[in-house]
């Protein structure tokens, strides 16, 4: 067990955890940031995507012990009033079916658009292919990323 200080959504949190605990489970079980989802545990599906210093990162394979100096952002902290252009676009398009993967999709899209504010259709399709949507709302996700890009 170790004591770790995590900077999440601009707030400092102290946690006791085993050093090999993935950030995902610290967020969910210890700190109640439940918007970050468990999907595969091996970084293949993207349901657990958060931002580390603004960059989309899969939290299920990221150890709590290496995050002391990093800025962590979860879906809860992406925007103050849940009105980030990507979140707004998700509403406009009515993207979700079951909705479970959508926090991860939104975090991936927000980070991608930060790096590439005017992506082509093909760039969106490639960038978002790290996130699985089992309900296959892919047409909607693709459209919402384009809508968000237009509004950013």
């Amino acid at each position: 067990m170790g004591k770790y200080t995590l900077n999440i959504n601009g707030k400092s949190h102290q946690v006791d955890a085993d050093e090999d605990t993935p950030l995902l489970w610290v967020l969910r079980d210890e700190l109640n940031y439940l918007g970050t989802k468990y999907g595969c545990g091996i970084g293949e599906c993207g349901a657990c995507t958060v931002h580390i210093n603004g960059k989309a990162t899969k939290s299920c394979t990221l150890l709590v012990s290496v995050l002391d100096d990093e800025e962590i952002t979860t879906i809860e902290g992406l925007s103050e009033n849940h009105n980030h252009p990507v979140q707004e676009a998700w509403k406009t398009v009515d993207v979700p079916q079951c909705g479970y993967c959508q926090s991860g999709q939104i975090m991936a899209a927000a980070s991608f658009l930060n790096e590439n504010p005017h992506p082509s259709k093909q760039e969106i399709r490639t960038a978002m292919s790290g996130n699985i949507c089992r309900c296959a709302a892919y047409n909607n996700i693709e459209k919402a990323v384009a809508v968000a890009a237009d509004n950013m």
Partner: protein, 717 residues
């Protein structure tokens, strides 16, 4: 419009009203009795009813805000939005004034609280609108009494009642008085041209909670004192626990206890990670209880069935053997589909707290009633001891019909007396599934004088057949000599319903085969089907569930929209059509070959589901089902060795991703027929549409799922 609007049930039998203590009106309606016209209660039973008897409500507050409790489990199919829309339409309120709340499962009175079979809207269409209309009329009656006017002189709009003099009252103003009035009967429902909510794009009622990351799902549920459990199950089907060393598991920080139950071992811990680590630290030895099965063995068994004679015949018209004996040509093809896991994004999980007094169950489940009864049976408890709350579900697709995970939670909680949440890892989820069964087909037609004279389907399945329920589907009735034969091998691998059960695999085989037969006859597959459909138009055989006219309608619509058969459009296209779950669908897929690989670029889908209640949600369902069907046909494959599943996570089981998805255009047939479901019907035909498009693009007939295997370069195989 269907003239059944005012018949089929007595509203008195399922509607009851009362004034709320805090002001306002509560309308209770027995949703499930109302949806089942065979179980109408007698009016005299009304006196015995109380509000505990009703699991669905409309609550109208003094301020005029309306809360609608949606009783059916929400798995992403959209019923939590579309069912309340039906009530709101007839109640005549503005959708912005509606708040939707997930209703609880009622353990005693109701039998149909489930998600499955694309039946939600179909069964709710009349009764939910009647419920809304009843509430509206009572509010109008209350206003009319206050004004001393005839109710018929009043009109309503968006929650406001207006009389002939132009005076107005809000619903909230008269809700308390309305609650005391008699329940009116024989109300006339709106004509479709007067709909204000039905047919409009309405966003998912949970959209804000989803995009802001609120804890909605079973995996998000937690409470004080709750313990997480990870369960070690036998790695292979047919295996049992022989020996266990849990020393290392108990030494993992956070592990509270290790409990063996049956052939499984639960590791209880303070958090999910410790539970999973503890499980991985268990050292177990397994023995073979029944022989472990392999895919090679299954293939041999199924091909053996297809070559043999031991079938159950599900339908046998005319003389099929004679038709084949007299044929000029016989076209024959085998089709194959492997086991498919559901792979819901939210892995299976459930909360249970079992005490001497009560059993509390909370989590994602498509079948609350059945699951509660199985828990009662398992623990030898009274059903009245059990409460069950349904969370939103991170996908279902049939997997959450089976409450095995809830039973595990209940058993572990019973043994430990602690509140327990069982959490499957992705590997647990994929390897302890209830898979779509592996099946193979032999399809054969007899051709004489360039006409189909005989049709023979043979189906061989591992565990569960599919054609047992659909022998009367198209082309039954349109071919004089027609036979459907089935056989299955009882496996120890657990199988079950997968989105569009009984049609998902047969449709791919059947409608790929039609393409091959059409090519042999040198006619368009569209013409082949339309010609056959003429023979069953006006058919009075009540085994025939599809409408030849409506099927022809969607075929014509998709042909027109996609340009199918028009050589000048330059695309390599595949056509398919199907009827299942009461909805008629036709599809055209476009495929391009890029570097020797098929790329599906476009899908046109024409649908006749009657009135489209919520186009936004309907299009989501249809597109999702199409891409699900493409993913399964292209990549789906779970194989077995010695009973052990050979894939366990998304690194070795391929799921379709965004860069592999086509643009999809949905075209609805516009009519005023009562609506049917959309969760499933677009899935079965798409596999054939892409197989036929791949043939058009590459000249290759793909007959075995996963299709991608036909295109793997030898070095990467």
């Amino acid at each position: 419009m269907d003239n059944k609007d005012n018949i089929g049930f007595s509203r008195r039998s399922f509607i009851k009203t009362s004034a709320l203590v805090g002001g306002g009106m509560l309308i209770g309606f027995n949703f499930f009795t109302s949806c089942d016209t065979d179980t109408v209660l007698e009016v005299e039973d009304l006196s015995k009813l109380n509000y505990d008897d009703f699991n669905a409500f409309i609550k109208i507050s003094k301020s005029g805000k309306v809360t609608i409790f949606s009783p059916n489990p929400e798995i992403g199919q959209g019923v939590k939005t579309s069912m309340p829309m039906l009530i709101a339409e007839e109640l005549d309120i503005a959708w912005k004034d509606v708040n939707v709340v997930q209703g609880k499962w009622d353990s005693v009175n109701y039998k149909n609280q489930y998600a499955g079979g694309s039946e939600g809207i179909l069964k709710a269409w009349d009764p939910l609108r009647q419920t809304g209309a009843t509430a509206r009329q009572m509010l109008v009656n209350a206003a009319a009494i206050r004004w001393s006017v005839e109710p018929s002189s009043c009109t309503t709009k968006e929650g406001v009642i207006t009389n002939a003099k132009g005076e107005t009252l809000g619903y909230g103003d008269v809700a308390i008085e309305a609650a005391k009035l008699d329940v009116p009967e024989g109300l006339k429902l709106k004509e479709p041209e007067n709909f204000n909510i039905i047919g409009k794009d309405i966003s998912n009622v949970d959209i804000h909670n989803i995009i802001s990351g609120k804890p909605l799902y079973g995996l998000d549920y937690k409470e004080e004192g709750m313990v997480y459990a990870s369960v070690l199950r036998p790695p292979g089907f047919g295996q049992g626990l022989e020996k266990l060393d849990d020393t290392a598991a108990r030494a993992v920080t956070g592990v509270i206890d290790v409990i063996t139950f049956g052939n499984k071992v639960g590791v209880l811990a303070k958090n999910t990670w410790a539970a999973m680590k503890g499980k991985n630290a268990l050292i177990a030895e397994w023995i073979e209880l029944t022989p472990g099965e392999s895919t090679k063995q299954h293939n041999d068994l199924m091909f053996g069935f297809l070559k043999g004679e031991t079938f159950t015949t599900m339908r046998n018209d005319g003389d099929v053997d004679a038709a084949f004996k007299e044929a000029d040509h016989i076209v024959e093809q085998e089709y194959e589909s492997p086991f498919i896991p559901h792979n819901c994004m939210e892995p299976m999980n459930f909360f249970a707290h079992v005490t001497d007094e009560s059993i509390r169950l909370i989590g994602p489940i498509q079948t609350p009633e059945w699951t509660a009864s199985r828990v009662a049976g398992l623990l030898n408890r009274d059903m009245n001891d059990i409460t069950l709350e349904m969370t939103r579900m991170g996908g279902g697709f049939g997997r959450r019909l089976y409450g095995d995970f809830a039973l595990e939670a209940a058993e572990l909680s019973d043994k430990s007396q602690m509140p327990i949440k069982v959490v499957f890892s992705r590997e647990d989820d994929m390897t302890a599934g209830t898979y779509r069964p592996a099946v193979k087909y032999n399809m054969k037609v007899a051709i004489k004088d360039n006409k189909i004279t005989g049709y023979h389907v043979k189906e061989a399945a591992i565990s569960d057949n599919m054609y047992d329920l659909i022998p009367n589907f198209f082309p039954a009735g349109s071919i004089e000599n027609y036979r459907v034969d089935i056989a299955s091998y009882p496996s120890n691998i657990s199988t079950g319903a997968f989105r569009a059960p009984h049609t998902n695999s047969p449709a791919v085989a059947e409608h790929s085969f039609f393409d091959k037969v059409a090519a042999h006859l040198e006619i368009s597959p569209v013409k082949l089907k339309i010609d056959l459909l003429q023979k069953v138009k006006g058919n009075t055989d009540d085994r025939q569930l599809f409408s030849a006219e409506r099927l022809e309608g969607v075929i014509n619509l998709v042909t027109e929209k996609s340009g199918y058969g028009n050589a000048s459009n330059g695309a390599s296209q595949g056509f398919s059509s199907y009827f299942c779950h009461n909805t008629h669908v036709a599809q055209v897929a476009d495929v391009e070959m890029v570097d020797g690989m098929p790329v599906i670029t476009k899908v046109h889908c024409a649908v006749d589901c009657g009135i489209v209640v919520n186009p936004l949600g309907a299009i989501n369902q249809l597109k999702g089902a199409i891409i699900d069907g493409i993913g399964t046909a292209m990549y789906g494959n779970l194989s077995f060795e010695n009973g052990i599943p050979q894939s366990s996570n998304f690194n070795n089981y391929r799921m379709i991703r965004m860069n592999e998805t086509p643009d999809i255009e949905i075209h609805f047939v516009k009519n005023n027929i009562a609506p049917t479901g959309l969760g499933e019907p677009a899935l079965p035909p798409i596999g054939a549409a892409i197989a036929n498009a791949i043939y058009a693009a590459s000249g290759k007939r793909v007959t075995k799922i996963p299709f991608i295997d036909y295109f793997k370069k030898p070095n990467n195989a």
